[in-house]
């Protein structure tokens, strides 16, 4: 699935829910499905600043593609991480850098988070973009 198709799929999934509580249920389910993240990679240099919950993000280049893995101690944040990874993991750095990350606004995620959580989301996006820049 291309990056565009994947984003559209998430937008379509979110449009099924009218209530924000249902959207949270969906994010919680996604959060629980996030693959395990190795304990030894929960290091300070992988910790993302600006979140009330703790978020670790690791990036590896493999065959010209960036592979992301991440974890958080809060499950809704894990759900958001899961969305980001499903869209941006396995893409080339150039592809990531050409994207404007606006699908998060389309699904209303940014506006519906508390300010601290929204800052955390912006930090996650910035970290993903930085990892892409470092690997162009």
């Amino acid at each position: 699935m291309t990056l565009q198709e994947k984003k559209q799929q998430i937008i379509d999934d979110f449009s099924l829910y009218d209530e924000w509580l249902d959207k949270y249920e969906y994010l919680i389910e996604l959060g629980k499905s996030l693959p395990p993240y190795p304990e030894e990679k929960k290091t300070d240099d992988r910790l993302i600043k600006g979140c009330q919950s703790r978020v670790w993000l690791d990036a590896q280049m493999s065959g010209g593609l960036l592979e992301f893995s991440a974890d958080s101690d809060a499950v809704i944040t894990r759900g958001i991480i899961c969305l980001l990874i499903s869209v941006y993991s396995g893409r080339t750095p150039a592809e990531i850098l050409s994207d404007d990350f606006s699908f998060l606004e389309t699904i209303g995620l940014k506006e519906n988070l508390s300010p601290t959580r929204a800052n955390g989301l912006l930090s996650m996006i910035q970290t993903i973009r930085n990892k892409a820049s470092e690997n162009v």
Binding site: L21, S53, L113, S114
Partner: protein, 401 residues
Amino acid sequence: MNIQQLRAQFPQLGRIVYGKPLVYLDNAATSLRPRTVIDKWTDISSNRTANLHRAVHLTAVEATEEYEHTRQDVARFINAPSSSEIVFTSGATHALNLLAFGIGEAFINQGDEIIVSEAEHHSNLVPWQMLCKRKGAVLKRLTVDDNGHLNIHLLPSLITPATKVVAVAHISNVLGLVNPIPEIARICKSSGVLLVVDGAQGIVHQTVDVQQLGCDFYAFSGHKMYASPGTGVLWGRKELLEALPPMFGGGEMIDSVSWESSTYAPVPRKFEAGTQNISGTPTLSPAIDLMHEMQPADDVEEYIYETLTSEPGIRLYGTTDNLRQKAPVFSFTVEGAHHEDLALILDKMGVALRSGQMCAEPLMDRFGVTGMLRASFAPYNTMSEAEFFVSSLRKAIKMLK
């Protein structure tokens, strides 16, 4: 005044969020504003705006009268011996900072000791850390036990001849427990140590009589006691306030100024540099009037306390056999559910409460948690709101399990 009449005073209690009535349980951070406070602010802003104390024109006289009248109301409210012991500030944080600065300059030398409890809000910790760094003084910790009570029995042995200050909250903003200030004051007095009390929560939930408490300084904010944000009070014994140098210079705090040096106005104006909160500070008066009419909701407090201490998987911090010694401030963690997830879900259910470190990171470390959830109640919170909070919390926990 019954609770429905009281609720009618607070416009924000009619607020709808996400299509649901707002249940506001973040009162320990900021209380809501009653109409009388909003009206006072609006009246001064609309009709009586002028700078204080200096000008001879009528609006300036009226603005000054409002401001000085409030100083007398505050003095009566906390039973201060004189209204000249009431310093207006922008809040408790401002009050504690100007105090730590003044005490530091007047009384602290290298090697002196300052004792702070580990249950303090950062506003009653960081200014003392800054002072210790500036003066080469030593910060010592008064610990709390597993139930959140101060280990008062350790205080006499913590105090040495080098100890100059003890700084504690009247009521911890996390634990909600009422600290035994008169007992601490006796210990401090017998050793010649100054006692500074952060009253940000205490002023809301206790009848404060500074003479009976026996402390030397008492600081609080207006925004937690239904007055305008950006208002606050530092009370101090007059001879001590007179001994402290001001932190800020300029504006109304001077007596006379020459090119070489200045003399300062008498207390309290020595500490009130710059243009004051002309519209905000006088709102303390209607806030005090309303507080005299408020009844603490003991049944709500008992219900929440019983629920949070008996619910499986929930740990409440700050427990006691005597609920009269606890304010309706409930900080807790839920096994297997992150505080931020719970707060986010509860928000969407219409329940506003606080999550995170509550400006008390050392206390979070003490209990080995990265954060807590805090529900804090005001007299305008009803039993049905409390029940709605409990059922919403149970639903949120279920969603996360």
